[in-house]
Symmetry: C2
Subunit: 385 residues, 2 copies
């Protein structure tokens, strides 16, 4: 298996982008990425999108996007695992390069979510849950995560303030990210007193509906050297795992098994432990999610995610910064793009180009992307070499 | 890159399967495949499905299917490229094994298409075309292929009888396939006089709406040897290409560029020419498609697909048999499953277990799977070694 480097990243400002179609979003992110890498060709493309069919009435992005990128005949595939689609697009591009099938492989994540009526967006997202045993009965994602939050509070004593602090911290980081959809600060009081969505989660506990795209370009390490990429950012570990799609089928619904296995596999591949990681971008689709992900990955023991967050452990200047980009909460959550954007942030931090949100001496990054209520997860370890 | 063998295949009877859900279909095909291979574990899974979201309201199959297969924590991904999704699932499993990321990788293709109202199925399929520039204006797939057929007749003199003969030949083969949805013979007169769908294509020129799944299991050749697989069926070539999604954007709409490039790439990887191929399973979603695919792959020169079909070249006892399984026309076309089922047929023929439709001394097979009106295509070469 070849060693694989990230040689380019491409982002754009996320939000309600009424002037941009799904093809515009993909092409803009891809061109930004190709320009950043300084290459003159690509050999293949993997596109992460959760549900372009339900959101935009457009499947077959694997044909459309290379076409609009001016890459006729390019091998391209779309991959999907609900909100983990972006992370899996990166994994697919990794397999292309690691196997030798491609030399330079592009991964693009995209979702165009705002150009449907509100009910349809919620329906589309709910197809990531078990249609027959969850969604059909009317439970949507805020409802599923609200049940997790309530159970976590009851079992571990997690408090409303601890949940709110996740949003406070991520919005604080987001104020330093010019690409964030909601780059404003919030207080714990504002989070707790915002509109109730699904008890105990309020509007400011939830990540938003977003239009956006992101891209990364992968190549063998020797090609990255030849291109003079410095500092060299290398994917040293990838872990991927799935779990029961329905909460009711899991042995312990407060343990995100797919996240735990994905993190263990990625760290084992990189020859690291979680203590070797300098910072992480994780899947904070709801405030409770970030707390449960911290616990599943072993950043803290089970039940300690809330107190650790309130103590500042995961703040930009804490001992284990989480979501320096602002996370899904502040940066936005175009579902298929999120996993790719996490790697863009990791590379910016490792390059030392993260501006006002730069973490000092960051050498090892972890990104964790998740589908549904934890039915799938993919973790990448990226290191400066 | 490791050499990759197909160590197991799993099929089931296709049709309107009202008693089986999408999870039932996947699990049945996967278990048949795992039993055929005689292995006690799998390391990863790739699921090909065009639009489980639009057809069944269920995305995130990558979480659901391993769950229902009893494979909690298995790395799994869904891949999509419209009707080429199945072929790309096999390619994904190939990358898993070729790169060393997985030892034993399962590819499952599935589509559950009948359990929606008719208009919705046609809408879902139309999302494989350009939504903004084709589907929005009311043109569906029978319409797109009818335009291709009309242009082919006008430009090359292809006749109505030649088109009909594709259906006659494939249905004749399908009578010998116990898994086919429509295993009955048809005459040219019946094809020509059946209900008009989109002039000149009638009902019997079109592949049907089908529920179905298929699976193949891949492993390194040395593992296949260890398992005592004989004869050994090896994937020696894979080619994959895309083209403009909209017909109007192609340099020559009568030339399927993605098919031509995919076939050239697969043959080059295998060190073969099209003349070395003993038989092929190709994407006959409409009768005109099989004729255009033959021409794009160089089986015959441009314009000669119709006459060659009428002359019997592609019949079971012809010099270049095409679609011994009955093809999409007679076997059925659960879109995401088709590309995987083509490889099942290839392996059965190469093993010599294809029963009444067995081709003598078949050593080298080609499978060609296609998305949309030719916006994507993937070709596999499989050889007995």
């Amino acid at each position: 298996m070849k060693d694989v480097a990230i040689i380019g990243i491409g982002m754009l400002k996320w939000g309600e982008l009424w002037e941009k179609s799904i093809r515009d979003l993909c092409v803009e992110a891809a061109l930004n990425c190709i320009e950043d890498a300084g290459v003159d060709h690509i050999d293949s493309m993997a596109i992460g999108s959760m549900s372009s069919g339900l959101f935009t009435g457009q499947e077959h992005l694997a044909s459309m996007i290379p076409d609009y990128l001016g890459q006729r005949y390019l091998p391209a595939v779309r991959v999907e695992s609900a909100c983990a689609s972006g992370g899996l697009a990166v994994r697919n591009a990794f397999l292309e390069v690691a196997s030798g099938m491609s030399e330079i492989a592009l991964a693009v994540g995209v979702e165009k979510m705002t150009d449907v009526n509100g009910g349809m967006a919620t329906y589309a997202l709910a197809t990531a849950a078990d249609q027959d045993f969850e969604a059909f009965h009317g439970v949507t994602f805020p409802g599923l995560y609200a049940m997790l939050a309530r159970a976590h509070m009851q079992h571990y004593g997690t408090t409303r303030e601890q949940l709110a602090q996740v949003a406070v911290k991520n919005h604080a980081n987001g104020t330093r990210n010019p690409n964030a959809q909601f780059p404003f600060a919030v207080t714990r009081e504002q989070v707790i007193n915002s509109v109730l969505v699904a008890d105990p989660l309020t509007l400011l506990d939830c990540s938003p509906i977003t239009d956006g795209a992101a891209a990364v370009l992968l190549a063998p390490v020797e090609v990255a050297h030849r291109l003079g990429r410095h500092p060299l950012t290398v994917i040293t570990g990838i872990g991927h795992a799935t779990d029961s799609i329905a909460l009711v089928d899991r042995p312990d619904m407060l343990h995100l098994g797919a996240v735990a296995h994905a993190a263990q596999r990625a760290l084992a591949m990189a020859g690291k432990t979680i203590q070797d990681v300098d910072f992480a971008e994780v899947h904070d689709c709801f405030t409770i999610a970030e707390i449960m992900v911290m616990e599943a990955m072993g950043v803290v023991p089970p039940g300690q995610g809330g107190p650790a967050t309130l103590d500042g452990m995961t703040a930009l200047d804490g001992s284990f910064p989480i979501n320096p980009s602002g996370g899904l909460k502040s940066k936005g959550h175009p579902v298929g793009a999120t996993g790719v954007a996490q790697l863009c942030e990791a590379v910016m931090q490792l390059r030392g180009t993260a501006g006002e949100r730069q973490i000092n001496n960051a050498r090892t990054a972890l990104t964790q992307n998740m589908g549904g209520s934890g039915g799938s997860s993919v973790v990448h370890i990226v290191e400066v070499q």
